[in-house]
Point group: C2
Chain length 355, copies 2
């Protein structure tokens, strides 16, 4: 960022802003730099680097001033999109500090060891007239239709929560099945039960995932006394997300009652569906039509992005480039280099148009 | 062992024998010293220490020579009862060396770092006229009936195997449910499916346990691409154990086919049901009637024990003391001190009778 002539400001939650000289209102471009365990090389990093290149090129060519951001913890070590949630005031820093990761470490502890941003201040959103987030699609649509650019018209909402079934750890040979309080069996019942109920209310675009589960003590010869797990569910309709929340929580309570278990829940997180800004979206569409005529489309984002939080503060838009075979959050994640370049060119064109 | 006048011999698989002076045939007493993660203080250790005390007291009092053993890896880090399986030739040392623990380390690697027994030799079973294994019950029966001694008339058979469902790791927001190959969902389906089928063929004494499961990469926002898990099943009837084996393997294949997953299995282990020796059992029963009149019973062992392997070599018997509230393999595992003492006294009486 400094090499591109930007002044770096790291805010108290760890978001990294690169600000152009002067104080005139400018466009903000960026995404995040973190990824998932075994995630790929592009994910959010593409949006940060594409934004940085546009800022650098604009400064070099005497174009409009451009600011760049890399948001902290987009991938949810402490909860979904922690950095942009705090910056957008969807979550206070004090509440964020209480969030813990799956190993039990709190955000307060984690950022306590980073003095370079703990004494800093937040960047005022008044500085920015809008936010564009370039990103890889992370799904199969553009690649399957041989298209280069996706102009995002909305971002699905997301909910997530952590749960625990607690039973009685005991010997796997001497404890009759009828007397067991097996936490893992509770999780298996819960999983099948919510699948059955969701079938009646979802659309083909609704998704839900049990991605994290840890048995305790996790030994072949011991009845699991405890299982901690996550459920995450996404949809474009807030009412459907509410109904899914009810089903998950009611099913947890019912399975626990029927299996001699206790059911606990914690760390509920919710981000509502977001619509992108009409004017910004049209500028990106115009840029796409110029650089990739006939090879772009409007589309929703099934993945959650920082833009969903930033939309609380200013107009936002997103631009997608294809993910080969729709693979993301995996080492195999990739995009053709020519598509990465066209994405940056469309972005640059949009920037000149909007200002 | 040395303080009790015994000569220590650690064999190549790590079993620890304490041998009395001379070479006359003698009785062997013992169990194992390892326990489970978060297991209690008694488990196999009671049998080793009770045997050692009887050996010590017999030497002091001019009684019969007694040998003591602590078998290696009874709890199955590398598979059930590794030490006694190898000593009894149910498993060759070469095959045992290929066994791996849940972290992937092989027994060959693990024992490679223990030079004190890698150059040693196995103790000949011809030295022993029989084996008595004292142990805590690890179940609720004796405690619930306010009894002090269980005389074991048989040990259930056990089977265990490791499995893997392999799917496709992917983004939890952008991958439609219909296109997912979610390994954890496969495990949930498998678990409920075998439960349903087992209901038709089991007895109230049959047990099965999924105690170990690890999702990969185990992150909230990633569809699990892989899950490794164990199933362990126990029953007194070998034919029923065979039928359960078929159901488990067939269900794994069918669930995988229906869910776009691959199904792999490995490290199958099997120990058949065992009957204990009539003559040894009668001597323990006589001792129990003398030391705890009306407060003992004949009973089967729902837990597997090293005696099941040693029965391939010589007559075996087992003696149980109560587990408070039936709890074992948990820090809360305990037995009243007076019951531990009566157990050792019954053992000492039986030893004098049998020789």
């Amino acid at each position: 960022m400094e090499a591109a002539g930007l002044t770096v400001q790291i805010d108290p939650v760890g978001n990294v802003f690169g600000l152009p000289p002067g104080d005139e209102t400018c466009l903000l471009i960026g995404s995040h730099s973190d990824s998932q365990p075994e995630g790929g090389w592009l994910d959010g990093a593409y949006g940060v680097i594409a934004g940085l290149e546009v800022a650098r090129a604009a400064a070099e060519a005497g174009g409009p001033p451009i600011a760049v951001v890399s948001f902290q913890d987009e991938e949810g070590r402490f909860g979904p999109l922690t950095g942009s949630r705090v910056w957008s005031k969807a979550l206070s820093l004090a509440d964020a500090d209480k969030l813990t990761d799956t190993s039990g470490q709190s955000l307060a502890d984690a950022r306590g060891g980073a003095p370079e941003f703990c004494g800093s201040s937040f960047v005022s959103p008044d500085r920015f007239c809008g936010f564009i987030e370039p990103h890889i699609e992370q799904g199969p649509d553009l690649d399957a239709h041989d298209q280069t650019i996706g102009v995002v018209d909305g971002i699905v909402g997301i909910r997530s929560e952590f749960y625990r079934f607690k039973g009685q750890q005991n010997h796997a040979g001497t404890t009759p099945m009828a007397l067991r309080r097996d936490a893992f069996q509770g999780l298996a019942r819960f999983t099948n039960d919510i699948n059955r109920q969701f079938a009646d209310i979802v659309t083909p675009a609704t998704v839900w995932t049990i991605g994290h589960a840890v048995l305790h003590p996790n030994a072949v010869s011991i009845i699991p006394g405890c299982v901690d797990f996550s459920v995450q569910w996404r949809d474009a309709d807030d009412a459907r997300l509410d109904r899914m929340t009810e089903i998950i929580r009611e099913t947890g309570v019912r399975v626990a009652e029927g299996s001699g278990l206790e059911f606990e829940r914690s760390a509920f997180a919710s981000i509502s569906p977001t619509r992108t800004d009409q004017r910004l979206m049209e500028r990106i569409a115009a840029g796409a039509q110029q650089k990739a005529p006939g090879k772009w489309r409007h589309m929703p984002s099934g993945a959650l992005h920082d833009a969903a939080n930033v939309a609380r503060l200013m107009p936002v838009a997103m631009l997608f480039v294809p993910s080969i075979n729709g693979i993301s959050h995996d080492f195999a994640e990739d995009t053709a280099v020519e598509d990465l370049i066209v994405g940056a060119e469309v972005l640059a064109g949009s920037v000149c148009e909007v200002l």
